[in-house]
Symmetry: C2
């Protein structure tokens, strides 16, 4: 595996294989790799000729400087993990390569998919930072496919809207969330949890799983589902920033779980660590 | 020459040659072709294997609905002219192909290059409309090179900043302004001038040419140049929206004409028609 730090070197490293018709995959990450990231890379490896993983902690998408400063950075360990899953090229640019002096471009979407939930909690700059850096990374690597985790469901939806709206010729692949044995969604932030916080954090998926069980059992009313999921969060002493059932396409609140796919999303501070998770809810065919 | 109206057909029409390593040029236009556009296409033809011309009157960059409505549209004549200069593919999408229902993305730059002159006169939406549609067109056609006219000097500068900031892998080529025998810059809007307006319009380039003569003769002071150029505009009964000498890179006001390239730009309403023009001013080596 080769590591490159400039756009010029990235493009040069890809040019021969690209000219020969090789398919290129991009796995964008902020480093601090866990098995969720590795699953993206494994999927990319299986579906493409060349796998590029970017490791870049994007300052533009952090509303909170403390969160940015505390975000784990461990490139040597990341590189070893990337080799292990068959990444061909690690792209780890310094911040000034991505945002050079005089940089002044922003890519911004509008509407509920960027304004609700994470957009409301993290501020309008968050998704603007995401859409800008993703546009840039897709421009840099020009991949045929790019891989995003379903744990960041709203981000995945935003990125799909971005490539559609800006006619970026990259297929966006969303890969199911990878979980710890007790259900906690893999996240680079999990390592910041102390043992007591780690025990409470399991409440996030417990609440979501309970909702899945309810819909499997025929419950379709959002209000009933949200009350019960909220009760399970409270049992784990979790006060959510949001717990919301939305249409998976529009991110508008869903009153019922129906034939259209709905997402149940939760965000909460566990101690000093902010975690998010979500599941897809679908009414069983019999009650649609 | 083939005409296509959807992004899918455009990409399909290009895919075989692109896979075979052909270089692709894009000449973005709003139609109503004149010799300035044709010069872009001739240059693209000389430098590339495949030449795509887009014809799309971009509603997003018009601040004034009346200006948008009055903008000339004549696709049959445009197609004939495009054939004549060797365009391979005419891409003429309907508005809903470019801005489908639910479209919500904007690409926006910041700083003097978008806020000054045309940005100030036409409103913040103008260059946002330009940068958004250019990002989209470059995404649709993925050209190796795209051709823009020097008559729209600020637009060309903005597009260069756009591709740099968003890492779009397209070379931006700026082609010198094509002029009528009396010096009037070619523009789709010229045909709206009545004979008396057409006679006055020559004052735009007369003023710019006088400035060029002054700097060739050693004059470096912006104030002296602007006063004299303004006098020539007044002789032609032209009250400019702006007449400005700026650094060609930063678009900040230039106090003198020096070794760094400066642009003298003018915009004016001639009757109901808004025209712009510019020249590059450089001090002769002896007085640098």
């Amino acid at each position: 595996m080769k590591t490159v730090r400039t756009v010029r070197d990235l493009r040069a490293a890809l040019s021969t294989q690209r000219s020969a018709g090789a398919s290129v995959a991009l796995v964008p990450t902020m480093g601090a790799l866990h098995d969720g990231h590795l699953e993206l890379a494994r999927r990319a490896r299986a579906e493409n000729d060349v796998v590029v993983m970017s490791v870049f902690v994007n300052p533009a998408q952090f509303d909170d400087p403390a969160d940015l400063a505390a975000y784990p950075r461990e490139e040597a360990a990341d590189a070893e993990l990337a080799v292990g899953v068959g990444v061909d090229l690690l792209f780890a640019p310094p911040a000034e390569e991505v945002y050079p002096p005089g940089f002044s471009a922003w890519v911004q979407l509008d509407g509920p998919i960027v304004l609700s939930l994470e957009g409301a909690q993290r501020g309008v700059g968050h998704f603007r930072g995401v859409t800008t850096v993703v546009t840039k990374l897709l421009g840099m690597a020009a991949p045929h496919r790019a891989y995003f985790g379903a744990k960041d469901a709203q981000q995945a939806r935003v990125v799909r809207a971005l490539v559609a709206d800006l006619n970026i010729d990259t297929e966006i692949v969303t890969v199911p969330t990878v979980r710890e044995p007790d259900g906690l969604a893999m996240s680079s932030r999990n390592r910041r949890l102390d043992p007591a916080e780690r025990a409470r954090a399991v409440g996030l998926f417990a609440a979501l799983r309970r909702a899945q069980q309810m819909t499997s059992g025929g419950e379709r009313r959002a209000e009933v589902i949200l009350v019960e999921a909220g009760r399970i969060l409270a049992e784990h002493r979790i006060a959510p920033e949001y717990l919301a059932l939305v249409d998976a396409d529009t991110f508008l609140p869903a009153g019922t779980v129906g034939a259209r796919s709905a997402l149940l999303l939760v965000a909460a501070q566990i101690g000093d660590t902010r975690l998010i998770d979500n599941v897809r809810l679908e009414a069983p065919p019999s009650v649609r």
